[in-house]
């Protein structure tokens, strides 16, 4: 990994909300072509960390560097030229056409009183084609399903032409097929466009999925306000870590798909009754 590929550096990052610590001592680096999975129980501070990485919230301590520049010194426009965002759920108000939504990804490259030009429209159309939604170009996006909407959000992020895309649980509320469609698209973006992905997820198997596809994947297991463990999926997503972090029993399996190819998955089995440390039966 050369320094040229280093897109984002997080050093000693800490964040408080109303004097309550949300996270501290977060350190990691992100390089082009990597998928960084942020994994941990509800309320562990994943979303807050993502908002800091997007420049929406300011760290209490430490720093986030985007290609060497401190994010707190960058304007929203500068940040948006480096980091794009795919929200967990997008709230729809007006029935904009699909293409108009994707075109909004060009805002960071449009002047304050300006409107997008034909080049921007071309980029938006290409982005839509990459996620395979070009046939819905002129459909009101309020008519799309949750999975289709998520693809449009991905296309919008793609139209931003940023080296990094941040996704907050992008497959929450999606059915089996659309979950896979999103994952397949992410793989395509990383492999073909060299994008780096930061993804908060509740599904440890997503990290295995990327690893199985031959993408350099990192998992940060977030618990007790910091990274409890950090590394490659096969070393982090383990039965013991599931027990420690989620208090569940799980089974790690290796299932052969074809000769020389197998899929690694972790299966939740049962919850462990809490340790009787409260002293009350």
């Amino acid at each position: 990994m050369s320094d040229m590929d280093k897109l984002m550096t997080i050093k000693e990052a800490a964040f408080d909300y109303q004097n309550k610590q949300v996270f501290h001592d977060i350190n990691f680096e992100l390089h082009a072509g990597e998928v960084f999975c942020l994994f941990g129980p509800n309320g562990c501070g994943k979303s807050t960390l993502l908002e800091c990485l997007l420049g929406l919230l300011k760290l209490k301590n430490g720093s986030i560097l985007l290609q060497g520049k401190d994010i707190s010194l960058l304007k929203p426009k500068d940040i948006a030229q480096q980091v794009a965002y795919v929200p967990q759920v997008h709230k729809k108000t007006f029935p904009y056409k699909v293409i108009d939504i994707v075109l909004m990804g060009r805002a960071a490259n449009t002047s304050f009183f300006g409107t997008p030009d034909p080049t921007d429209l071309e980029i938006a159309e290409q982005s839509l084609a990459i996620v395979g939604m070009d046939k819905y170009r002129d459909t009101p996006y309020t008519m799309l399903s949750g999975g289709e909407t998520q693809l449009i959000m991905l296309a919008r992020a793609l139209a931003q032409q940023t080296p990094i895309i941040v996704m907050d649980e992008p497959t929450a509320h999606l059915d089996f097929k659309h979950e896979l469609v999103i994952l397949e698209n992410v793989v395509k973006l990383v492999k073909e466009q060299g994008v780096a992905i930061i993804m908060a997820t509740h599904f440890p198997n997503h990290a295995f999925y990327f690893e199985n596809k031959g993408i350099r994947t990192l998992v940060a297991l977030m618990n007790n306000n910091s990274f409890a463990d950090f590394g490659a999926p096969s070393s982090i997503i383990s039965e013991i870590n599931m027990r420690k972090t989620f208090h569940i029993e799980s089974k790690l399996i290796n299932y052969p798909l074809a000769v020389g190819e197998h899929i690694r998955q972790i299966i939740p089995v049962n919850t462990i009754s809490p340790v009787p440390s409260y002293g009350v039966e």
């Binding site: 908002e51 426009k77 965002y85 709230k91 007006f94 904009y96 108009d100 805002a107 919008r156």
Partner: protein, 332 residues
């Protein structure tokens, strides 16, 4: 092709309506007389002074002012609907109308001077919006929901103050003036009104037209808009500023004219869709045409003038129902 035809229609509609309005009214002036009045400025054609006065000094400023007021209310309504991500809001959301109403009532009681009524209406309209904005401002930003609440609070305070002003006003002289002002009218329009109120309305309209695409971005909500690269604080402040200039400019000369800022944007949405790049210019044309049309009715329908604020809803309501039924609320 269809686009071009629509564009031409939208440019021509207000122009034709403005022209037609010049020979509508109690004093009979026919088409050729109107033409002669215009030509008399460039050629040696003679026209009666009375005709010239009625066309140029009474009807033309009134019709032009009506077009400006309609355009201002409609464009601000559309901008606020985008900014607040709510198709049910109108240009008065942040209290500009009730603020202006109170300012006018106060000036009527204190001074009974037309110019001061404008100044007070405009000033208090702007003041109301600033107050809503300050109430909403927390942690260096003004979240949308806080702005809405700020607007609700400020509007109700100024509504109460309007009632107080009515209660204290002289019931034979000032009270009717206040009540008529609040119902909205263009009957007293002169060129000077166009001069005073035209400037803020024009600045507001131009500003919103320039920011029209970024209204799309703002309608994605603060969080997404920022990740798309928008400086949401500055943009929101500017949109609110331009919309307030336009609305306060309109209200201070016309009184309170409801409905235009809510319904014209909706009719425009049904015709051209929700992309603010097209929607915003279209609301100018429709708003101007609608108010010129309604003002003609106000002048013509009965022996004495009907206040505009009454007619906008009575005529517009059924028309909106018709549009809703025809499009079956499509795309909502």
């Amino acid at each position: 092709m269809k686009r071009t035809a629509l564009f031409i229609a939208l440019v021509l509609a207000p122009c034709i309506l403005i022209f037609v309005s010049l020979f509508i009214g109690r004093y009979p002036i026919d088409f050729s007389t109107v033409l002669k009045v215009f030509l008399s400025y460039f050629t040696s054609i003679e026209v009666a002074d009375i005709d010239k006065t009625v066309v140029m000094d009474i009807r033309l400023p009134r019709v032009l002012l009506g077009a400006f007021v309609g355009a201002s209310l409609a464009i601000s309504g559309a901008a606020f609907q985008g900014l607040f991500r709510n198709p049910l809001v109108n240009s008065g959301l942040l209290g500009v109308s009730s603020g202006a109403g109170f300012g006018a009532a106060l000036a009527i009681i204190l001074f009974n001077n037309t110019l001061l009524v404008y100044v007070f209406a405009f000033g208090f309209g702007v003041l109301a919006v600033v107050a809503s904005y300050l109430i909403a401002r927390t942690y260096n930003t003004a979240p949308t929901i806080m702005l809405v609440l700020g607007g609700v609070i400020v509007s109700s305070i100024f509504s109460s103050l309007i009632s107080l002003a009515k209660y204290m006003a002289d019931p034979y002289d000032q009270l009717p003036t206040i009540v008529f002002w609040l119902m909205g009218s263009l009957a007293t329009a002169r060129y000077q009104d166009l001069l005073y109120a035209g400037a803020p309305m024009l600045i507001g309209i131009i500003g919103l037209v320039l920011m029209r695409w970024h209204l799309n971005i703002l309608s994605m909500g603060d969080k997404e808009a920022r990740t798309l690269g928008a400086n949401t604080n500055l943009m929101k402040t500017l949109v609110i500023g331009f919309a307030t200039l336009a609305t306060a400019g309109a209200v201070c000369v016309s009184g309170i004219i409801g409905w235009v800022g809510l319904v014209i944007p909706h009719i425009a949405r049904m015709i051209v869709g929700n992309d603010n790049r097209i929607l915003i210019p279209v609301t100018i044309s429709l708003g101007a045409s609608y108010l010129v049309l309604i003002d003609n009715m106000a002048r013509m329908l009965t022996g004495s003038e009907i206040p505009l604020g009454i007619l906008t809803a009575i005529v517009g309501g059924p028309f909106f129902v018709y549009i809703l039924k025809r499009t079956k609320g499509a795309s909502w």
